[in-house]
C-alpha cells in the first residue's frame, strides 16, 4: 500500500473517531457562537492529532508533508461536515502568506500555531465597494505617517472579520501610479483603534461577511509584507498558494443521492417523479457532469503523486459545479410543489435544498465570479485576448470613472 493510501486510512480513522463530537450531527441546532467554540475545540484536537498544517514546514508548526496529503485530508474531512468554515480563509490565504513573506520568524511561528489551534483567526481584507473582481481598483489609502503608515478607507465582503484577531490588507499607497503598481500589502491587528467591523446580513439570513472601516488606523512599517508598491503581486501569490485544493463536484451543495432521495416519494401527474423524463434527464446530466469533475480530480491526484503538474482543467470545478447546484436546488424545491414552501435557511447547505438554493449565488460570486473564471480559462488556458481595458497604462487617479 502506498504512503498516500496509508495516510488516507489514518486520516479517515481519526476523523471517524471524532466525528460524533464535532461532525455534522453534533452541530445541528447550535448557535453560531456555540458552533465557533466547537470549531476552535476541533482545531485544537486536529492539531494535537497531527493533522494541522499538513503541508507546512515543521519548524513553523506544520507537519512537513506534501500537497497530496493535504488534499487527501481535506477531501476526507469534508465528508464529515466539521466546523472548519470559520478558519478556512485564515488558514487558506493570510497565514501561508505570513509563512512565505514575513521576516520575524519567531512571531510568525507563534501566529501559525495559534491559528492552527483555532485560537486566533485571520481575515483577508481585499474586496472593496469599488474593487471586487477588479481587485486592483481598490481605494483604501495607506499614507506615510512618520516611520509608519496611516490607513483610511473601507473594505467589503470580508469573511469572518467579526471573529478575526488579525487581517491582511491591500491598500493604495500611490494614486498617481498605474492601478496595479500603487498598492502595498500589510498585516493589521483588528483590535487597533480606528478599525470598525459591521456584519452584513446576506440573503440567506446569515452574516459571515462584513464591512470593515479604517479611520486613521496606525500601522508600523514592520507590518508591511513585501515591497512598497508590490502589494498586487503579493496578493496574486495568495492565489498561487493552493493551486490544487480539495474540490466538491456537488458545488458545496447536496449530493446527487440526496436529490434522488428527495424525489423518490414524489409524484408528477399521478406517476412516480423518478419516471418523469425531465427528472431523469436532470439526474443523468448532473451525474455525468459530476462524474467528469470527479475524474478530473482523480487524475490530478494521480499526477501529483507521479510528481507531475496537474492540468489546468482542475480550474473548472467551481464554475461548473456551483451553477449546476443552483439549478438542481431550484428543481428540488419545485418538485415538492406547495410543500416546497417550507424553508430552513439555517440548515446545512449540503443537506437542505432551500438553504443550498438561497446561498448558491454567493458561491457563484465569491472566490472568482463565473465571468472572471471564464475569462481566466479563455485567456490563460486557451490564449484568447484580454477584454478592452481603458484602465491599462493609466495612472490610477486618471482612470475614467
Amino acid at each position: 500500500m502506498s504512503n498516500p493510501d496509508q495516510f488516507r486510512e489514518r486520516a479517515h480513522a481519526w476523523l471517524a473517531s471524532v466525528a460524533p463530537v464535532y461532525g455534522r450531527a453534533a452541530r445541528r441546532g447550535l448557535t453560531e457562537e456555540q458552533d465557533l467554540a466547537l470549531g476552535r475545540a476541533y482545531l485544537a484536537a486536529r492539531f494535537d492529532a497531527g493533522f494541522a498544517g499538513i503541508n507546512w514546514p515543521i519548524e513553523m508548526g506544520g507537519q512537513g508533508l506534501t500537497h497530496i496529503e493535504k488534499v487527501i485530508f481535506d477531501t476526507e474531512e469534508m465528508a464529515y461536515g466539521m466546523p472548519t468554515g470559520y478558519f478556512a480563509i485564515s488558514l487558506g490565504m493570510p497565514v501561508p502568506i505570513l509563512i512565505r513573506f514575513c521576516e520575524d520568524r519567531a512571531w510568525v511561528r507563534e501566529r501559525v500555531i495559534r491559528a492552527l489551534r483555532g485560537e486566533e483567526i485571520w481575515c483577508q481584507l481585499f474586496s472593496e465597494p469599488a474593487g471586487g473582481s477588479d481587485l486592483a481598483g481598490l481605494r483604501t489609502r495607506a499614507e506615510g505617517d512618520g516611520n509608519g503608515w496611516k490607513l483610511n478607507g473601507q473594505k467589503l465582503w470580508t469573511s469572518w472579520a467579526q471573529y478575526s484577531d488579525y487581517g491582511v490588507i491591500v491598500a493604495r499607497n500611490d494614486p498617481t501610479a498605474q492601478k496595479h503598481k500603487g498598492l502595498t500589502y500589510f498585516w493589521v491587528d483588528m483590535r487597533t483603534p480606528g478599525v470598525e467591523v459591521r456584519p452584513i446580513k446576506l440573503a440567506g439570513g446569515d452574516s459571515h461577511v462584513n464591512e470593515v472601516f479604517f479611520d486613521d488606523v496606525r500601522l508600523e512599517d514592520s507590518q508591511r509584507i513585501g515591497g512598497v508598491g508590490a502589494g498586487f503581486s503579493v496578493a496574486m501569490a495568495t492565489l498561487m498558494i493552493e493551486r490544487y485544493s480539495a474540490t466538491d463536484s456537488a458545488g458545496f451543495g447536496p449530493h446527487l443521492d440526496l436529490f434522488v432521495d428527495t424525489v423518490r416519494d414524489l409524484e408528477i401527474n399521478g406517476r412516480p417523479a423518478l419516471k418523469d423524463a425531465r427528472v431523469r434527464s436532470t439526474i443523468a446530466r448532473n451525474h455525468a457532469m459530476r462524474a467528469g469533475l470527479d475524474s478530473i480530480t482523480g487524475r490530478a491526484m494521480l499526477m501529483l503523486q507521479a510528481g507531475m503538474e496537474p492540468g489546468p482543467e482542475g480550474s473548472l470545478n467551481k464554475l461548473v459545479s456551483v451553477r449546476s447546484r443552483q439549478k438542481l436546488s431550484e428543481l428540488a424545491i419545485d418538485l415538492q410543489g406547495q410543500r416546497g414552501f417550507r424553508f430552513h435557511p439555517e440548515a446545512s447547505q449540503k443537506e437542505d435544498w432551500g438553504s443550498s438554493w438561497i446561498n448558491a449565488p454567493t458561491g457563484r460570486i465569491a472566490g472568482g465570479a463565473d465571468e472572471m473564471l471564464l475569462n481566466t480559462i479563455a485567456e490563460k488556458i486557451l490564449g484568447l485576448p484580454q477584454d478592452h481595458r481603458p484602465d491599462k497604462g493609466v495612472a490610477f487617479n486618471q482612470i475614467p470613472a
Binding site: V260, L384, P385, D387
Partner: protein, 364 residues
C-alpha cells in the same frame, strides 16, 4: 479511480493523430457527403495498415491484445479528423461479442479476419426509434433470421453483423453474414457512415446468447461501442474548440479580434469545460471495462461527449459567422458527424434512461 496514459498509450495518440493529419483531405470528405454508398476507403486502408482493427483483439487471434483505452485514443484522433469510415466502434462491438462467448471455433473463424481487416463487422440492434427494444420484431428460429433493422451503421459494407432478435419469445443475440440479407442504403446527412436498412429474409444466422444473458451482453457491447464513440465525439469537439479559438484570435471586427469580446470568448471557454469533462469521463470509462460500474461510467462518458460535440458544432459555426455555414469551409462535416454519432450506439434519451435506471433502480 481514473488513470494516466502510459508511454505506449501516448504514442498511440500521437501517431494516430500524425497519420490522420498527413492524409487529411477536406475535399475528399466533402465529396463523400453527396454520394450514397461511398466511403472513405483511404481512411480504412490507413486503419488496417496502422493495426487499428487489431488493437482490441487478443494476440491469440492475431490482434494486439490492447483494450478500450487504446481504441479510444485512436477514435479520438479519427473524431478530430472526421475520418470517414465507421467500423472502429461497431467492428469492436462485434469482435467483443464473439470474444465474450465460449466458442473457440467461432473465435478462430472470425477474430483473425476482423483483426486483419479482411472482414468488416457491425452491430444491428436498433429498430424504429428504439436503440434496443425489449421485443424486437426481427425473429430468429431454426437457424434462420427474419425481419428488418433500421439504419445500421456500416451496414452497407459489413460482412457480418451481431443482431438483436427475438427467439421463442425472448431476446437473443445472433450472428448473421450479411451477404444473404437485403441492404438498402439510407441517403443520410452523413453518407460516409455507410448506413443501411437491412432486411433479413430466411437469412442463416447463429445463436450467440439468449434471454437475460443476451440483454446483458447486448448492453455491454453497446456500452463498449458508446465509449469508443464518446472518444470520437471528444476528438471532434476538441478540434472544433481549437478551430473556434484560432478563428476568434485572427478574425477582426469593430477594431479588435473577435475573441476579445466576452460573448465570443466565454462561449469558447464554455466549450473547453464541456470537452474536458467529457474527456475525463472517457478516460475513466475506458479503464472501467469489465468492472461492475462500467455501464454507469460508459453512460457518463456518452452523455457528456454527446453534449460536448453537439454544443461545439453549434457554437463553432456561430463564432465563425457567415463563413461557418459555407459548404467549402467544411464545418458542416463536424455538424453532420456530431448528429450521426449522437444517434449511433444509442441516443441521448436512451443513455439518460439507462443511467438513471442503474442509479435509482427505477425504469423509465
Amino acid at each position: 479511480m481514473s488513470i494516466l496514459y502510459d508511454e505506449g498509450q501516448q504514442a498511440i495518440a500521437t501517431e494516430s493523430r500524425r497519420v490522420l493529419d498527413a492524409r487529411a483531405n477536406k475535399a475528399r470528405l466533402l465529396g463523400l457527403l453527396e454520394r450514397v454508398g461511398a466511403w472513405d476507403e483511404m481512411f480504412w486502408n490507413t486503419a488496417v495498415e496502422q493495426g487499428w482493427t487489431a488493437l482490441a483483439i487478443s494476440e491469440e487471434h492475431g490482434g494486439l491484445g490492447l483494450g478500450l483505452t487504446e481504441l479510444g485514443l485512436v477514435a479520438q484522433a479519427t473524431g478530430a479528423a472526421t475520418a470517414g469510415a465507421p467500423f472502429l466502434a461497431v467492428g469492436h462491438g462485434l469482435a467483443h461479442a464473439v470474444a465474450a462467448i465460449d466458442d473457440a471455433a467461432l473465435q478462430a473463424q472470425w477474430l483473425p479476419r476482423l483483426a486483419a481487416g479482411d472482414m468488416l463487422g457491425t452491430v444491428a440492434f436498433g429498430e424504429g426509434s428504439s436503440p434496443l427494444t425489449a421485443t424486437p420484431a426481427v425473429t430468429f428460429a431454426d437457424g434462420i433470421l427474419n425481419g428488418a433493422k433500421d439504419g445500421v451503421t456500416g451496414g452497407l459494407k459489413a460482412d457480418i453483423a451481431l443482431v438483436w432478435a427475438l427467439a421463442d419469445g425472448e431476446p437473443a443475440l445472433v450472428l448473421a453474414e450479411l451477404a444473404g440479407a437485403d441492404r438498402t442504403p439510407v441517403d443520410s446527412f452523413d453518407n460516409a457512415r455507410l448506413i443501411a436498412d437491412i432486411t433479413f429474409a430466411a437469412t442463416p444466422a447463429r445463436l450467440i446468447a439468449r434471454g437475460a444473458e443476451a440483454r446483458e451482453l447486448a448492453l455491454d457491447v453497446l456500452a463498449r461501442m458508446a465509449v469508443v464513440t464518446a472518444h470520437e465525439q471528444v476528438g471532434g469537439a476538441e478540434a472544433l474548440l481549437f478551430i473556434a479559438r484560432d478563428y476568434a484570435n485572427t478574425r477582426r471586427a469593430f477594431g479588435q479580434v473577435i475573441g476579445a469580446f466576452q460573448s465570443v470568448k466565454h462561449r469558447i471557454a464554455e466549450l473547453y469545460g464541456l470537452v474536458e469533462i467529457a474527456r475525463a469521463n472517457c478516460i475513466h470509462a475506458a479503464a472501467r471495462a469489465g468492472q461492475a460500474d462500467f455501464l454507469i461510467a460508459a453512460a457518463d462518458a456518452r452523455i457528456s461527449a454527446t453534449d460536448a460535440y453537439d454544443t461545439a458544432a453549434r457554437d463553432c459555426v456561430q463564432v465563425h459567422g457567415g463563413i461557418g455555414v459555407t459548404w467549402e469551409q467544411g464545418l458542416h462535416l463536424h455538424m453532420r458527424r456530431a448528429r450521426s454519432l449522437a444517434i449511433e450506439q444509442g441516443n441521448m434519451l436512451f443513455w439518460e434512461d439507462l443511467l438513471v435506471e442503474r442509479l435509482t433502480g427505477v425504469a423509465a
